[in-house]
Amino acid sequence: MSGIGTGYDLSVSTFSPDGRVFQTAYAQKAVDNGGTVVGIRCKDGVVLGVEKPVASKMLVGGSNRSTYPINQQTGMGIAGVSADGRQIVNRAMQEATQYKGFYGEVIPGYVLSERIASYVHLFNLYWYVRPFGAALLMASYDSEGPQLYLIEPGGTAHRYFGTAIGKGRQSAKTDIEKLKLTELSCRQGVVEVAKILHTVHDEEKPFELELAWICDESNKEFKRVPADLAAEAEQQAKAALDEDMDS
């Protein structure tokens, strides 16, 4: 396997001779091997979809949630190690509450993304901690409009029109690029996200699809996609998949 840095990968505070921090790269691997998470910025909002593999039939559906509201106008989806991701979500909630308390207004999306990226980056600097094995897709809708950010384990934050992370990200990104996002409403976006996640998922194993959005229709609040729309989206996704199978 390429990338095993003998001796230079034991600590996050050690560079390798070719200028890499292997612990950060390994953290990224943890994300890459996890369930796929998709985010798209439509014309009236942002849609997040999380593919959650169901480990056992005895699990009650809907538990172990992967999308969280940070405040009314921001939410996050976790990819990778969900326990790590939840710590980042908690930090984001604290940042948002503290900002509102001090400045009297809601934290803008780009300010929060920078704060969280800085926070995540901290864990790549010191030997006595390890990097988070999670990446966050952050959806926000403020006076600047809807925004989608990706914060990676290394501590970088980028703003996207649409992106995917996790196992099926390559083919998911290809599918996203085919969409005309500036013309898509979030209602349509939810269906597209469901289709993409059903396509990239390995059919044999059961999985749960968690959909969340923030858009004009949700009153600019970050929420789970309403159950009826989510069910309809899954239905359409499965139908499209069967069509592809037959053709």
Binding site: F102, Y103, G104, E105, P108, V111, S143
Partner: protein, 228 residues
């Protein structure tokens, strides 16, 4: 001014016994203040500027302890500038008003200042926030504070109109402060005005002898021998 026991009796810290007024109009906000600073009965400054700039389009009117309000305005100016760097744009009036409130509220044991924050931003237009002693923050269409304000609440209640023009608003502020200066011994001097709108900030001065007199205030007379 010490007595035989060495106490500094009779000497008080400089205070802006003051009249400050801020009024919104259609398209902006007008701020006004008198200019008297008193140390007890001694007027230490008859032409002070009680209007402090916090950012390009947000200003602060100060009343109460001169030292306290100057420090608060310095800190808020600093915080606002830092915040603007992080935001890559000027903070909103609401945000800066909140910074003033935080200073006042978190340090309420030590501070004695009543302030009015007024400004203009693109999203909210002209806004006035009252921040009295103790650190409440309340947005209002107009407000007044300081020792002279007690005499003009009723006048402003009856004379304020929503959607005034800039000229009407400026006249209202000048008249209010003139009335307060006529009755409040701690207010006087000149009337300083600032008008904020999308066109920026405009200062105006109404000099002492141009201030309207009310009631039985003495008119300037060259000599009582003029009768002859």
């Amino acid at each position: 001014m010490t007595d035989s026991s060495g106490d500094w009796t009779g000497l008080q810290a400089p205070a802006t016994g003051t009249t400050i007024v801020a009024v919104t109009f259609d398209g902006g906000v007008v701020l006004g203040a008198d200019s008297r600073v008193s140390t007890g009965t001694y007027v230490s400054n008859r032409a002070s500027d009680k209007i402090a700039q916090l950012s390009d389009q947000v200003y602060l009117l100060r009343s109460g302890s001169a030292a306290d309000t100057q420090l608060v305005s310095d800190y808020v100016r600093y915080f606002a500038e830092q915040h603007a760097i992080g935001l890559s744009e000027p903070p909103s009036v609401k945000t800066i008003a909140n910074l003033v409130k935080q200073m006042n509220y978190q340090n309420k044991q030590m501070l004695e200042g009543a302030m009015i924050i007024a400004g203009w931003d693109r999203e909210g237009g002209g806004q006035v926030y009252g921040c009295p002693i103790g650190g409440t923050l309340l947005q209002e269409p107009w407000t007044t504070d300081g020792s002279g304000s007690t005499y003009i609440w009723g006048y402003l209640d009856s004379a304020f109109r929503h959607h005034m023009t800039q000229d009407e608003a400026e006249e209202l502020v000048i008249t209010s402060i003139s009335l307060a200066m006529a009755r409040d011994g701690s207010s006087g001097g000149v009337v300083r005005l600032i008008t904020l709108s999308k066109d920026g900030a405009r200062r105006r001065l109404v000099k002492g002898d141009e201030v309207q007199l009310y009631g039985e205030e003495l008119q300037m007379q060259s000599s009582s021998m003029d009768l002859l």
